[in-house]
Symmetry: C2
């Protein structure tokens, strides 16, 4: 049988969808296919879009897709947020609107409901990125929910992190403080027509020492980065005001995304990302292999069962037990 | 120097706080202390409280603490949600309100901002539970943000999972479908005074085939479980309507929590939880040790560097590289 990888490399949607199902189900056939794809990756610009439910991320991505497509760029979307209309999980009409892209063979949308995953989010998302990259997608957008550890992880999976906020919600300020916003390369204040954006803007500017005037109503782009690329290797987050539902301000955001891509390429960080992803992928696989090999052996082992019984009867602790297991089973060659 | 563990076993707050800092920072001293504590754990009833920002979880926990304290129970709180007023991260006045418990030596509140963690959420939370359990806390409440993979993980870390919702928000329906609600042992519909709860109630009842009449305005308890414990080993989630901010309905919820604890004890599931936690803790530690041992060796290894270079130049894939590494370094004894 022909490997799915051959289809994926021709951007065949059925082959890609099947491989993605293998990945989600931790089917071992996924590994054989991914082996064939890896050498064809490293091309895509990977963008993370994160924000709480209700911030309008999905609508924003929807409009962004139109801009990317009008520039002839092919697009992949990976929706990790369970409340996203991109996920099959949505009850609401939003999903139907998104489906207009399903007639465009150069837009591939994959939703990852978090339900019942055996692997971690990072691992599965990283593998989905590999598939879409091998399909030749110019842009891969990864949508996440904007709360919790996932967000910090997502930073390591993408080139450009966009944090989507809406004004007038006290919750966001708390999240700022909790460190979620520190992962942003670009801020979007969405629904700028419906909510007061001034407090949020000034909070962001104060927290990140952004130049005043960096977020002008209607234009909303911080142009200071053009200068700062020359001056130093640093990147200052820009703030963009958008009304995604009315297609306002998104054109400027798209320019900002390309500015960031440009910055990454000029500083060598674009390819550093791929080095870092490869290293992480390899380490993750090594860890997985190691644990699986060992746990398979432990399954019916009497020492393991005895140690577990000791634990339950408060006669031991898992650290001492782990040391005993490792001494029993492992021998490092060097 | 006296081990911190001695202090922790006497419920000393300073010793516990210091050990928790070691755990967060992955300081190796944490392990030596945890070894001494593990044999003294397995006593606490561990409750997960999960829900989106704005659902009023923290206020609910605040009121729950008062009920537990009036019943002379000692309480620990682990707040994993970065938007929680329990976390140091909060800008808002809510935090001050929570601090009233800081004068009560039998309430210990620990916030875990997700920022900058080296370990995973599950591991760190599991270790914090061990410390609070060793301190002798009768109840340990773990607060999480209600979006994403974390929620599914949290189910395995607690005895009783409470999902807090508010009526009138379409987002919640999407989250239902995404599987977050399937982890619930108890549903709370909070802010019942402010929002229409009927749609949410009937959705929940339909999805989980709950008996009608299980959620009565004002009382809000599903009493059908008393019968179902006798009939079978299954547990049907109950629905409680609360107005935590006005201290309404929480008394009934507390009864529901004790009903669930009772169910767990009658069916042997209460102690099964500890068996499962011990097993997970041991496996996690084994995985950690294994990976650390190996990655330490790889740090300066020329084969590893060559393989990584091959990856970056698209001459290899991380799966094949991982296999080579394992063949080079590892030898399973049995």
């Amino acid at each position: 049988m022909e490997p799915l990888a051959n289809g994926v490399l021709k951007a065949d949607i059925k082959a890609a969808a099947k491989l993605m199902r293998y990945i989600e189900e931790e089917d071992t056939r996924a590994i054989d296919e991914l082996k064939l794809l890896y050498g064809h990756t490293g091309h895509s610009h990977i963008i993370g879009i994160t924000g709480l439910p209700g911030s309008g991320k999905s609508t924003l991505i929807d409009v962004m897709i139109e801009y990317f497509r009008s520039g002839k760029k092919t697009v992949g979307v990976i929706a990790v947020d369970p409340s996203s209309p991109f996920t099959g999980g949505s009850f609401l009409g939003d999903r139907i609107r998104m489906q207009k892209h399903s007639f465009d063979k150069d837009v591939f949308i994959k939703s990852l409901p978090t339900k019942g995953w055996r692997g971690g989010i990072s691992k599965v998302t990283s593998r989905m990125i590999t598939v879409m990259d091998a399909m030749g997608k110019d842009i891969i957008a990864v949508e996440t929910a904007g709360v919790g550890q996932t967000e910090v992880d997502i930073k390591n999976l993408v080139h450009t992190t966009i944090v989507v906020l809406v004004g007038g919600l006290g919750d966001y300020i708390q999240i700022i403080k909790a460190g979620i916003l520190e992962i942003a390369d670009i801020f979007v204040i969405n629904k700028a027509d419906k909510n007061n954006t001034e407090d949020l803007e000034s909070d962001l500017k104060n927290l990140f020492s952004l130049d005043t005037g960096s977020a002008k109503e209607g234009s909303g782009s911080d142009k200071s980065n053009a200068g700062s690329i020359k001056e130093s290797a640093g990147w200052k987050p820009s703030i963009y005001l958008t009304e995604a539902a009315n297609n306002k301000g998104v054109d400027r955001l798209i320019e900002g995304i390309f500015e960031h891509e440009n910055y990454l390429r000029l500083t060598g960080k674009f390819s550093n990302y791929f080095r870092s992803k490869s290293n992480n992928d390899m380490k993750e696989i090594i860890s997985d292999y190691l644990s699986n090999l060992l746990f398979e052996k432990l399954e019916n082992d009497s020492l393991y069962k005895k140690l577990l019984d000791d634990l339950i009867h408060n006669d031991s602790d898992p650290y001492t037990a782990a040391e005993k297991i490792l001494n029993q089973f492992l021998n490092f060659k060097k």
